[in-house]
Symmetry: C3
Subunit: 382 residues, 3 copies
């Protein structure tokens, strides 16, 4: 188009248009109308900015490293094992101080198992027999300990017996102790080192008070008024998790130690604290077959003749899962603008008054909703 | 300002303003206009509320504990090991029932290794030699098993040989069996206990049917019509993951068992079910050097003289990673308000009709977009 | 209502309403007004679409499997152990190639410990005594190695001594070597296989160049110009993480290897690369008591008489945590529509001009903000 056209265009481009209004002196509508605007402003200020911290850029990709160390010794004196002292290398599995580790509190030991033949345990349906034909040679005993040799072993002159099996013999005896073997585990201490880093803000911190004072970490215990001493008494952890040590030590269980880092980096770094939270992860109420926590492991030896033998251990105990979460927030201009912008837009949207013809309709509640959709926001608040 | 001013202000504050309108009887524009509004309403209702459940507060910070237990025995009879029975303590690594564990299905055993000198394995470039000068004393064999002693060992009167090394001797022989040693592993069963908790709603559940009936969990197997029996046959898991047991047992591999908890807590707690999903995590198609899964570990013994010796095992097998995800939703007033609010705002925004002068321009498509930006929403739908 | 009513309704339903305008030739306001619209358009185009890729559907639930393998041998010659060669089975804990593993670089070995009585170590406050009464029989030594027998052992004719304890004797000697035992660990190599899958897009990839060429993976090393050879020299990893090998090998530490998959699946699959990032996870600066990384483990033997004995090892070393993150994006129509829609709404919202009476007020800055809230968006930009 011609020069004139452009001229006109640019002039009009910066004109400012505004409508003519009819003032409808309708207090009821007006009041509701203002109310809606107030609500939006409150939402914007209180919810978006104060509660949700809409002016901050957040980093949720926490980099965390957990190093754990258990300390303590326990003395036991049983018929199978005799006098025995248990230290960390004996009762912590795995030993390498990961964020998930297991402390043995109860134990069934079956000593000197060898690869040979013996009678299957009582009480396994597939292992019971009354004659050799019941024990098909070479077939494994379902839910049992070995493969059948084909012979049925009757104790004395009883008609029922169990199949002979080729297995690690003797097979495990199922007599679970009535009370935990390592009752003293209650006094073991767990030292949890947790190093975190928020890469976006390049902010690092540890849950350990960085001090040269060796004494502090040697003597202190974690407690409500001592949050920078991450040394936990096992008994206390169990208690805080809402369980009784006697039970969990006997049956076994899983306890979660949650470390939460919720940092507002607009404040000083020293304001960014870890918060601890303990709870029982497995179902402590379940008295069902699936309750408790135990597993089997073995230690392998050789007798002087060089024949391999092993001690099988069925360990009951407490598994500790250290779980670290966190997020950090820091002022950033972009989210601030975006949030204000969208809030403003919300304002603007509501500020459209409804056309009279529609408003009247709505007031009459004629139910012609479609033609009034234009005015939904307003129809809505009525 | 004066009292009168305030009076006027408050009066005006609750006035209700609305524009004068010209009704443009333009069916085409009108139709599109209504269409746009319909779309928004549909988006709001269908997408935001029905599909995205915009009325719910969600908790994605799932607390999960996984406890696994493998059962089953396998019988083997090989030249190195003789008759042997394998039970859980033998073939599960690590033993403590974590959410990641490994089941040995194939094995290369090198028995009675001692710290001494022997010939390096054939086929390691850095270990080949034709004279002593080729074996620099004290230098480790790159990608080999030990440090060179400085001697070159020629077999018989051949000119080529391998360096003598100080190592755990004899070194491992590389003859991988053609078929998996623990073929019977296919019938092993994996019992996966998974306890979850949604802290925000304090909702806990387990994937195990809490029953006193011991029989149920002893006999049942997981299947399409049996989702509350989390006992999996290893062979079936491999099959569901889309692999053949024979292959994975020979070369090794990693299988993921994904447990998904997707709970709508507005419904009954019994409606919150875990859903299982199996897939092969490593690249099963890759026939490259990097395919399969194996690792070496050793068992240490002492001979009667007190000299340490070990059995080195190169284990091939199946690693199972149990991965738990989940989120829960529950009605909450705040997200509901916010979603309705923004939806309403969207409505309101579109309900602004474009100024005539602009609309006409748009209809003429004169391409002066800038001055019409006011009317973008409307220009847009044309 | 009657047929006529319906007729009228449908006619009106597709009418198109638009306001009358007064053109206020106010360049200042107009300019600001246009500016605001430009900003929104820029935000919509640049931020939402170009930077945030608002047109893409994203999958952040990455399925990842990590398999690691360490290679290398180290030769040591110490008084306790004599000549010894260390291979993978000796120095990697745990052996099964998980994403978290530990490489021993320094070691304190206490050989041939037996369950018996001996003197507690010097320097443990609770273990010191000057007479038998100081050693209460049966009480464990706090932070010590065993339970007291009740006797106080004075060396020679000194008045101070340590309690006799029942423990694994002899107790560990605390002489930490001045230089790392396995200094050669610097040349160990770590092979990290990482398989990923984005379930939503069913896209799989590995960080290993799938090649039949065995030579490549045998010889190559990871480097800036060699990103598809995930074989890392341990020394280089430590260096990239900003530590010196000598220090970390002596005291121990934790190093994170972060693998980031950030894939735009609108591009070719070959454009989806892993990016590696190394950093020290524990606090390397901390010279406090809590610095470093070590743990104790034991190997159990039997002497010819069948009595159990063990070698206790306090291992210092490097823990490697392989951490995989990633997300993938792919064009999808729904997010595109939603983003454009909301952007348009934002436009529409701002396009509402303020009523004159209000605008004038704002210009006068009379501070009656409430009645002008209608016009906040506009008041805002002034």
């Amino acid at each position: 188009m011609g020069q004139a056209g452009w001229k006109g265009f640019f002039q009009s481009a910066f004109d400012y248009k505004t409508e003519k209004y009819v003032i409808a002196k309708n207090k009821k509508v007006g009041l509701l109308y203002r109310l809606l605007q107030l609500i939006i402003l409150l939402y914007l200020v209180v919810w978006v900015f104060v509660i949700k911290k809409g002016y901050q850029d957040t980093d949720t990709s926490l980099q965390s490293a957990v190093v754990t160390k258990v300390k303590g010794v326990a003395y036991t004196n049983t018929s199978e094992l005799g006098e025995r002292l248990w230290d960390v290398a004996d009762y912590v599995i795995p030993p390498q101080g990961d964020n998930v580790f297991f402390v043995i509190t109860n134990l069934i030991v079956t000593t000197n198992q060898r690869q040979s033949t013996c009678a299957e345990r009582e009480g396994i349906p597939d292992g019971m027999c009354s004659q050799d034909q019941d024990c098909q040679a070479g077939a494994p005993v379902i839910a049992g300990n070995g493969v059948k040799t084909g012979r049925c072993l009757q104790a004395g002159n009883s008609t029922r017996g169990t199949c002979e099996i080729f297995a690690w013999c003797p097979v495990e005896t199922q007599s679970k102790p009535k009370k935990p073997l390592l009752r003293d585990a209650e006094d073991f201490t767990i030292f949890i080192k947790n190093y975190i880093r928020f890469p976006k803000f390049n902010f690092s911190k540890a849950n350990v008070l960085e001090t040269k004072n060796k004494g502090f970490l040697k003597s202190c215990r974690f407690g409500p008024n001592n949050h920078y001493c991450p040394i936990f008494r096992l008994g206390s952890v169990v208690q805080w998790a809402g369980s009784t040590f006697e039970d969990i030590a006997l049956e076994g269980g899983v306890i979660g130690i949650h470390i939460e880092w919720n940092c507002d980096l607009d404040k000083a770094a020293s304001e960014c604290h870890p918060s601890y939270n303990f709870n029982r992860l497995d179902n402590k109420h379940a008295k069902s077959v699936s309750s408790g926590y135990n597993f089997r492991f073995a230690r392998y030896y050789r007798d002087p003749a060089g024949v391999e033998l092993r001690n099988l251990m069925k360990a009951y105990g407490i598994r500790i899962d250290v779980i670290v979460n966190g997020k950090a927030g820091k002022f950033s201009i972009i989210p601030t603008i975006i949030n204000i912008g969208s809030g403003v837009a919300l304002m603007g949207a509501v500020s459209t008054p409804p056309p009279t013809h529609c408003l009247s309709r709505v007031e009459k509640i004629t139910g012609h909703i479609l033609p009034c959709m234009v005015a939904l926001p307003h129809a809505f608040i009525k």
